[in-house]
């Protein structure tokens, strides 16, 4: 992961609303070409974090830097590098798509000559080319969401922040938006929040889980899938040392009198050998499956009950 070109950085963000702490001491760094997924149960502080990152809410403590520019010291300069799609797309229902996007382009400082081209390319990217002359209020929720997305990327900002970008879209549109986000992620930095775990898994390179305002997990998306365990069960179980001695097996843990959990060496897959050996020695193989921790399991583990904050940095 490239760490030389940091586009957005947050240091120790804290936000209190009266006595309630919405976000506590949250730090993040995002390099060019990274897509970060922000996960968390309802009310965990995702939207508050995004509002702080985009200058809509001043943090009680901490600071945000966009391309090294402090959002507090020079908000205008920092915001030029930013595109934001809030939870509710900020569209004016009485304007047409073209009028609205032209206004957004002007608001983000695109020169009037370049405005038409910017509007066209944003419309093309978001699949809005056919509805340019329609009034936004008459469009479906999915299309309004796309207009909101077009607004966030119209000035091609280095940092794009998307709060639940696929809410209200049909499955085909979701696929298109995901493709678009992936494309954006090549040249820009993208932060997106979602409730939909497969979506994060499909799009993001990195995932952060926030619970009760605190960062409880931060890792590359494949880090938790990288080291699967193997569950094996036999009718006539051998000793665990017999399994542990096999090539590709790092250790064997006894689950009950018939089942074991094996840690694997990623370089050698021992499954074939285990089957052969079980047949040869008459162990009576009953069960053989990979136990990969899914994002969902991690999510549930970290966000339900009182779990000590577990930090993992795979970067």
């Amino acid at each position: 992961m490239a760490s030389d070109n940091i586009l957005i950085e947050a240091r120790g963000l804290t936000r209190r609303f009266g006595p309630n702490v919405a976000v506590a001491d949250l730090s993040l760094k995002l390099a060019q070409g990274e897509i970060l997924g922000l996960l968390g149960p309802n009310g965990a502080g995702k939207s508050t974090t995004m509002k702080m990152l985009t200058g809509n809410l001043a943090p009680t403590e901490g600071e945000v830097f966009i391309k090294g520019q402090s959002l507090r010291d020079d908000a205008v300069l920092a915001k030029q590098q930013l595109g934001y799609l809030p939870e509710q797309p900020p569209v004016y229902p009485e304007l047409t798509v073209d009028e609205y996007l032209r206004y957004c382009a002007g608001l983000h400082g695109i020169a009037s000559k370049a405005r038409a081209a910017a509007v066209d390319s944003a419309k093309r990217d978001c699949g809005l080319s056919d509805v340019g002359r329609r009034v936004i209020g008459n469009l479906s929720k999915g299309f309004q969401q796309r207009v909101g997305l077009a607004q966030a990327i119209i000035h091609r900002p280095p940092v794009v922040v998307l709060d639940e970008p696929t809410v209200g879209l049909d499955p085909i549109q979701i696929r298109e938006i995901r493709t678009l986000i992936r494309e954006l992620g090549r040249v820009h930095s993208v932060i997106l929040s979602s409730h939909i775990l497969p979506e994060i898994q499909a799009v993001c390179g990195r995932v952060m889980i926030v619970n009760r305002g605190r960062l409880v997990y931060d890792a590359a998306i494949d880090a938790h899938l990288g080291n699967p365990k193997l569950i094996v069960g036999f009718a006539r179980a051998p000793g665990s040392n017999e399994l542990a001695e096999m090539q590709g097996v790092l250790s064997a843990e006894t689950l009950d009198d018939r089942r074991f959990r094996l840690s694997l060496d990623p370089a050698h897959d021992p499954r074939d050998a285990i089957v052969a050996l079980a047949v040869q020695r008459g162990w009576g193989l009953q069960e053989l499956r990979l136990e990969a921790k899914t994002l969902e399991e991690i999510f549930v583990e970290l966000t339900s009950g009182d779990v000590q904050p577990l930090m993992r940095n795979a970067a």
Binding site: P90, V91, C104
Partner: protein
């Protein structure tokens, strides 16, 4: 500056695509026309007194512009109520807050946007006495002072309405609130007539007392300064209010 104009242009566009703006323009025009026609008819009936005590510019112009203040007091809260409260309610305020524009630019843009609409009303008000130009000698200076007074007065109305709109997320509450606030400031004229040491203070603070000079053709820079200060104060309060919102 460019951002202010972009926001103002968008605001004006949104005002003029809304049916409310056209309804307000139509209704006010009807009322103004009724008052204007009535004044002309009355003046003609008393034509024996014409050009002696009261001139036509005075009677028709001042009569029209004087009643216009009350109608503008009623309609401007309706025009300013949406400016911030509706944007807050529908979440579009986020667009402005995340864009590389300052709060001052946002507030000035909104203010200018609504003033374009007000200028349309004032322009139509200017045209009514002007329609008499081919047949009557009008005191143009006096009418101009009255129109300038209307412009300054509506600037004060609009800035106050803008501020109240930034306080709430319900447009109707913003409308009621700004109407009440404007009426109270207007009615400071009442305690000003009591015999008390503060009477001149109330008189100075009242929105309408400064208009009376202008409408009678008396251009006093202190009246102009009053309206400009009033407007600047409320625009500044709006900026402060929006800044508070982020903190």
């Amino acid at each position: 500056m460019r951002n202010t104009l972009a926001i103002a242009a968008n605001e004006t566009r949104r005002i003029f695509v809304s049916p409310l703006a056209w309804a307000v323009l139509g209704v006010t025009q009807l009322i103004f026309g009724y008052i204007f026609a009535g004044a002309v008819v009355q003046y003609v009936r008393n034509s024996d007194m014409a050009d002696q005590a009261v001139g036509v510019s005075d009677y028709v112009g001042s009569g029209l512009y004087g009643s216009a203040t009350i109608i503008l007091l009623l309609i401007l809260p309706l025009m300013t109520m949406r400016l911030f409260s509706e944007e807050r309610k529908s979440g579009t305020l986020t667009l402005l807050f995340s864009a590389p524009v300052t709060l001052v630019e946002i507030v000035l843009g909104k203010f200018l946007g609504v003033m374009v609409f007000v200028l349309a009303i004032i322009g139509l008000l200017a045209l009514m006495p002007a329609s008499l130009l081919p047949v009557v000698n009008l005191d143009l200076g006096r009418l101009a002072a009255g129109l300038l007074g209307l412009l300054l007065l509506t600037m004060a109305f609009a800035s106050c309405g803008l501020f109240i709109s930034s306080l709430t997320r319900e447009p109707t509450i913003a409308a009621v609130g700004s109407f009440a606030a404007l009426l109270v400031i207007w009615l400071l004229k009442m305690p000003a007539s009591f015999d008390s040491p503060f009477a001149p203070v109330f008189d100075y603070l009242s929105l309408i007392s400064h208009y009376q000079d202008l409408i009678s053709g008396l251009f006093d820079s202190s009246d102009v300064v009053y309206y400009l200060l009033f407007t600047a104060l409320f625009l500044w309060l709006t900026v402060l209010r929006l800044d508070m919102e982020r903190n």
